[in-house]
Symmetry: C2
């Protein structure tokens, strides 16, 4: 199956305009068929040995969202103290999540026991099943962007708190809690770049040829 | 920036027709501007706290490829013995890599010290920087597919062997070694599904609402 140049450019447009959304969520509901397409895209991520280790916990209940938000608040307060004093104020001023404002949350997880115990391609690198679930996250994110939906990855929460909030069994690893919703706008650049927190790295500095450059 | 329905469908076409390629690589060289676009797409992945922890080692030297291939061969022989006897024959018969046949290999890595030591969003989940590099892998993969290039992820190799082959410093974690090249064709379905190794999971079984279902 050939991808045309126009189709290719649509993929690049989606990749380059994807953002981590925190402050621009609108409450508008997401139609079920749209959410389904996004989850279907996530389910078509690559997985090690075709193990498909992901599950998707779709969160709409305000009570459940509040538990996630409480977990974020606790981890956020802890985090602030880890930054050097000069950066604590900036850190505090950043809006880092849209848990309550986004209409849907989706937790993507990893079940290392699925289709195991020996999985093709996981024999030398045990993290490969978690990496597979991360590929599902990125498919989800790009499919959402293609649907003009914003996604924000909430990583400032401890896994045990997230598991308790969603009743996730012990042997399952949460990989990402994603806020999903329509947005008032997408920022032109990543917010942390815009805020002067960090610049974009120069791609040439990151490319090595045949051997790592010193 | 609005994504149109046509553009959205191009993204889905790319996501659903992406494959892990092992046996269909053609030796045709990849133009530098095409490779650059694919790397640029990888570089525009989301990263925790905008840390951009990835590097890209582009491998074209046959000698370096041979070292990777030797590493694969050793890890592959080890792996075979881990499967139950009934599956060892099938495992052996599967073609699992195209290291020598693909014109370019790209190792995507993770540098946890970049833009650190404290990174926004990594304070509760230390794996977040590795997950960022995996997002770069999936952007790379989809951009490549949009360029009608095949990608195969070689995970059957030990990280220390890969690091030695590419002279990667101690503190850098290899995330993926990817074979890249034009292909004779893309399989309609994942090869492990086609070979009857495993079926595709039913998406409905993987979706939970508000709480994990028992």
């Amino acid at each position: 199956m050939i991808i045309t140049e126009e189709e290719r450019d649509a993929v690049y447009k989606t990749i380059f305009s994807r953002r981590d959304v925190r402050g621009q969520f609108k409450p508008d509901p997401i139609p079920e068929d749209v959410l389904r397409r996004v989850l279907q895209a996530a389910h078509h991520a690559p997985s090690v040995g075709y193990s498909q280790p992901w599950d998707f916990v779709v969160v709409k209940s305000p009570e459940v969202k509040q538990r996630i938000k409480d977990g974020f608040n606790a981890a956020h307060a802890e985090a602030e103290l880890m930054f050097e004093e000069g950066k604590q104020g900036t850190y505090r001023s950043l809006k880092l999540e849209g848990i309550m404002e986004s209409p849907v949350g989706v937790c993507i997880t990893c079940d290392s026991t699925r289709n195991g115990p020996v999985v093709i391609g996981r024999t030398a690198v045990p993290e490969m099943d978690q990496y597979s679930s991360v590929c599902a996250v990125q498919n989800f994110w790009l499919a959402a962007r293609a649907e003009n939906l914003g996604v924000g990855w909430v990583s400032i929460i401890h896994n045990d708190v997230l598991k308790k909030a969603l009743n996730i069994p012990d042997h399952i690893i949460p990989i990402a809690y994603l806020c999903l919703g329509y947005v008032s706008f997408f920022h032109e650049k990543p917010e942390l770049e815009k805020a002067g927190w960090l610049p974009r790295e120069n791609l040439d500095d990151l490319i090595h040829y045949d051997q790592w450059k010193a």
